[in-house]
């Protein structure tokens, strides 16, 4: 395996880190970099698109690739234009749970329906962390947050299951505890032609940990204890949820251009 120092030099942009101590954001950055290193893809062909929130800062400005840091919730829509614009680019989307499943939920659904060849990492910490820890679509029922002081009256949105139902080519869930599995899954996403969606349960020691009296390490321990690679338990399932072979939007669009005799602009 490539050494940490080499990963840092090749993939990480020198910049003061915005992440809190114990945050999982850096671990996601590490796993993406290692996945690319192990894949056939050239770093120059990667475009990382993100929206707004802590997770959006993982690729921008830290990842040493072309980055497009966009508006809140719209990363998948921007990424759709990038991919259709140049099909040879490998387009990654890094989006928080609020960004991806809340304000950007419609784009997530249609990205999956289109089965467009994007690699979407939904960094799920279960709340809106950057703005202080408000309830998110992914917050569990009854959970206390900044804006649910009496417990969450709503229930959580199971994004991976929804994306699977909408027709994505590849759907998976891991946590920052499962670094080696996550690297393999991101590589699989890169190798998949079609919409890849990886939900990454990620610790937020600042907004969530403090409330539950856990530090970053203890939160990772929690992920270890409460997840299972076996679907038939009461624990949170981690692993690949779905792999299907469906027509991919970009390929279909380019095929049509060729069929009607268009000389590509």
């Amino acid at each position: 395996m490539i050494k940490a120092k080499e990963i840092k030099e090749k993939y990480i942009r020198r910049h003061p880190s915005p992440f809190c101590p114990g945050c999982g954001g850096g671990m996601v950055l590490n796993s993406m970099s290692r996945a690319v290193e192990e894949s056939e893809v050239s770093k120059d062909d990667i475009v990382a698109v993100s929206g707004i929130g802590c997770a959006a800062w993982i690729p921008s400005p830290h990842w040493r690739v072309d980055t497009l840091h966009t508006t809140h919730g719209r990363a998948i829509a921007y990424a759709t234009g990038v991919k259709i614009g140049n099909k040879d680019l490998e387009v990654m989307v890094v989006s928080g749970d609020g960004d991806c499943a809340g304000i950007g939920g419609n784009h997530l659904l249609h990205g999956a329906r289109n089965n467009i060849d994007l690699n979407v990492l939904m960094i799920n910490n279960g709340l809106y962390a950057m703005t202080g820890g408000q309830v998110a679509p992914t917050t569990q029922h009854d959970e206390e947050t900044l804006t649910t002081p009496y417990g969450n009256p709503s229930s959580s949105f199971e994004a991976a299951e929804v994306v699977k139902a909408a027709g994505a080519a590849h759907v998976a869930r891991w946590t920052t505890y499962h670094m080696k599995d996550l690297i393999k899954e991101v590589k699989k996403a890169i190798d998949t032609t079609g919409f890849s969606f990886i939900e990454v349960l990620t610790q937020c020691p600042t907004r969530k940990g403090k409330k539950e009296e856990m530090n970053g390490l203890e939160m990772l321990e929690w992920y270890k204890e409460n997840t299972s690679k076996n679907e038939n338990t009461d624990k949170i399932f981690v692993g690949t949820l779905s792999e299907v072979d469906r027509p991919e939007l970009t390929e279909e669009i380019y095929k049509q251009i060729e069929e009607v005799g268009g000389d590509l602009r």
Partner: protein, 374 residues
Amino acid sequence: MKDPGEYFIEGNIACAEGALRAGCGFYAGYPITPASEVMNHLSKELPKAGGRFVQMEDEIASIASIIGASWTGLKSMTATSGPGFSLMQENLGYAVMTETPCVIVNVQRAGPSTGQATKPGTGDVMQARFGSQGDYEIIAFSPNSAQEMFDFTIRAFNLSEKYRIPTVLLADAGVGHMREKVEIRDEVETVDRRRPEDDEKEFFDTDREDHVPPMPDFGGGEELLVTGSTHLGDGTRDTSSFEAQDRLVRRLVSKIEDNRTEIEDWEEENVEDADLVVISYGSISRPARGAVKKARENGLNVGFFRPKVMWPSPEKRLRDIGENSEVLLAELSLRGYRMEVERAVPSENLHIYDRLNSLPTIDQIYDRIKEVVE
């Protein structure tokens, strides 16, 4: 794409043909009356011309994807009407901030809100200029014929590429659905964004006189940082320093302000010696011009002025006119361009003919002219 020649087509089709001639490589849109014909036509013709067409899930996704596609080096466009244009405002500001060329067509209809979807209006003029948050300048065109739907769409692409800015074609249902003769010219002048020379490493700042930095494409190994946050010349985010905010936002505004003589465009007739100048734009400027012609035939000393570019507005010319003559503003809206004209013309010299829902007849505007002159 139609062969060069003369055609009897509606404005929205002329707009789509203009996009094809201008070199559009990517179109994304969402259906909406009265703009859908632009998309319907391009869905068939753009692939044949080698461009990429996609119908998105909403107008927000439409503008987002054309901005994304623009960074792959393609000229890109979307078309919509008021409700969709409202949804696009945040990302229009993103295109301004990231200096991303793209063209947004707004075939305006009667608002506010859902209003009357098939009826013309020009109530979005101010929105085109001020609709997104923060300080910025924009370029917006006002066509008044199917021919200008073709011509101005091409110019919208060209200025967008030249100044790295989103440009807006502010059409209305009147010109969008008007069917008339359009000449598709053989030779069309097109402009491509300036790509960086070998020694140019800053893509978000410049000391050049035109204030426009070069723009590379994604995939070129530049490790680009494109962000809607305030940034330095190399794209690095700077969300706190005075210098970064001041330098960036002033330059974004200067790109338009300092190049305005090259961007501005209007037509005028008999303005110099007129007692009254009728100012009008968009589809209503057609009967307005007819009314001016009738007034002159009847011995009234009336001139005509029509901005073809609404933003930046021809403010100096408007002031000159307002100082030397009475003005009658004829528009398909109560508040469309009025504040801008009020800013330039002394209130005692300004008269209004405002109309909602549909085009007036020549005589209706002529009667108002007579009323003002007498």
